[in-house]
Structures are given as C-alpha cells and as structure tokens.
Amino acid sequence: MDEPLIVVVLLLVAASATAAVAVRDPVHQALVLAVLGVALALLFTVLQAPDVGLSQLAVGSVLTPLLLMLSVHRVRRREKGRKGKAR
C-alpha cells in the first residue's frame, strides 16, 4: 500500500477542512468547500473507493458549493434591496 501518498492526502484533507471552518465569508467558504471536496475525492480514490470518490467529486465539490453560493446571492440581493428602500 502507498502509505506516504495516503498520509499526504490525509494532511491535505485536514488542511482544507480546517480552512473551511476558519474562513468566515460564506462565499469563500463555499469555494474552500469545493477544494475540500476534491481533496476528499482524492483520498477516496487513493483508498481504492472510486465509486465514493466520484460521488464526492460531483456532490461535494460542485453541487453543494453551487447551492450555497446561490443561497448567499439570494440573501445578499434581498439585503441590498432593503437598504435601497430605507435610503
């Protein structure tokens, strides 16, 4: 088994997961989440689980960040509208 490769990918996952928590802006968070998704997909592939890796790649790094960003956009648009009305 390629132990060093597993260790490297595990560190990558830990780093990107920590970054996803540490970043405060939701838009940036969604982007870091996409990177975390790719890292996890790599981990699953290295651990010989390509099926799970594919799901992770499709859902974790594309669909979830996309839904998050659309929600953030919606909320910000509404906030902007409120501010514009108050002025």
Binding site: D51, A58, L63
Partner: protein, 247 residues
C-alpha cells in the same frame, strides 16, 4: 435550565460519547489488512449474478432496498424545495438581464458542456460495469447543463431546461424503481429481488439482471432532481422579486 446545569449536561454527554468512540476505535481491525469478510461475500454474490462492478451489485441488488430509501430522501427533499421556494403571491418574476461574458469563459463553457454531459451519461450507462453509476453520473450530467448559464445567459439555460418536464421525469424515475421492485413480487419472489431477468454475459452492458434497470432509474431520478433543485435555487437567486420592487 441554567447555564451551569446545561454545561454539566453537555460535559457528561461529550465525555460519554468520547469514551464510547475511543473504546470502539480500540477494537477496530488495523488499517488495511487482508481480512474483509463482508467484502469477500459481496464480491462473491456480485460475481454469481454477473455484475462486474461489485459496488453496483451492492447498491442495486444486495442492498436495493437501502437505495430505495436514499432515493426517497432525495425525492422528498426535491418536493420540499419545490414547495418552499415557489413564487409566492407577493412576488413577481423580474427579467434577468443578459450580462457580458468574457470570451475565454464562453468558449470554455461551450466546449466543456457537451463533453461533461456525455461523461455523465457514460457514467450512468456503465454503472454496472465500472466505477460510478446512476447517482454519480446523474449529478454530473445535471450540473454540466448549467455550464450554459456560465457560457451564455439564464434565458438560454431556461430554454434547454423545461423544469416542468424534469419534475415529471423525477417522479417517473422514482416510480420506475418501485415498479421494478414490485415486478419481482408479481413474479413470485421478494420486493426488489434480482431474479426477474437473465443475468446475461459478464462485463457487458446488459449483464446483471435488474441492476442496469434500477441503475438507469436512479440515474434519471438524480439527474432530474439535481436540475429541479438548482432551477428552484437559481429562480430565487436570479428571477423572483418582491412585488413592490424590493428584491
């Protein structure tokens, strides 16, 4: 409950969970290793039914009922989204204005779009043979469609993606899964049992009995579900406004 009591309860619960987790982890078999009793049995069962991808055999044959549950979760979440994110009475649809798209982005999106959709369909079609399957391929195909939003504009996307049809497709695919399961009951065996169709030749598209059918149903269900979900979110993000101009 005061803050102090709450903290004590939290500490007790946390400590109990930590102790159980550590105890469970100490009893785990080592990382890697060659002893895989479940894996060996699953592979044996999948080979006996001539399904090349053992994961597909677990998902759509040995644990087909679990997959039915997962599919229902996705279906229910889509129904919930459609109900929650509908256009309410005090909202109107604005006309999203087309924006200038940078030429490299447009080129990239329009070149990658057909490739990505085709890869998604390929992954669905070969679910019983190679890694992937209905779920993965469905998400890829559905999200790939949205490259049109990046490369062109929202109205181009709306033209190729009639949401009503995808909603019907979602429901049809979900029922197709249940009907395939019921067909086994009518044939005299158990719900979702893979005894209905001949198992075919190993490692060909039609092998595995009902596995390709259930896989295709899941592929269609997931693709339609992802399209409908994204459509509802996009509607909210781009089109729907408050009646009085407030967005």
């Amino acid at each position: 409950m005061t803050r102090g009591v709450r903290l004590i309860v939290l500490a007790l619960g946390g400590a109990g969970l930590a102790a159980l987790l550590v105890a469970a982890c100490l009893d785990l078999p080592g990382f890697g290793g060659t002893w895989h009793p479940y894996g060996d049995r699953a592979v044996e069962a999948s080979l006996s039914r001539r399904t090349a991808n053992a994961i597909a055999s677990v998902n759509f044959d040995q644990r087909a009922f679990d997959t039915l549950g997962e599919m229902s979760i996705l279906f229910a979440s889509v129904v919930g989204t459609v109900v929650l994110l509908r256009q309410t009475r005090d909202e109107k649809r604005g006309k999203p204005e087309p924006e200038e798209v940078a030429l490299p982005v447009r080129r990239y999106a329009l070149i990658v779009l057909p490739v990505a959709v085709l890869s998604g369909l390929y992954v669905i079609a070969h679910g019983q043979l190679s890694p992937g399957g209905g779920f993965q391929g469905g998400v890829v195909a559905a999200t790939a469609l949205h490259l049109l939003y990046l490369g062109a504009d929202y109205r181009a996307l709306e033209r190729v993606r009639p949401v009503g049809l995808f909603e019907v497709g979602d429901a049809l695919a979900a029922s197709a899964y249940v009907v395939t399961g019921l067909a086994a009951v009518l044939a005299g065996t158990a719900f979702l049992a893979n005894t209905l169709l001949p198992y075919g030749t190993f490692n060909t598209l039609a092998s595995g009995g009902t596995v390709p059918l259930l896989n295709a149903a899941i592929g269609m269900e997931v693709a339609c579900a992802a399209v409908v979900l994204l459509a509802r979110f996009l509607d909210q993000a781009v089109e729907i406004e408050k009646e009085n101009g407030e967005r």
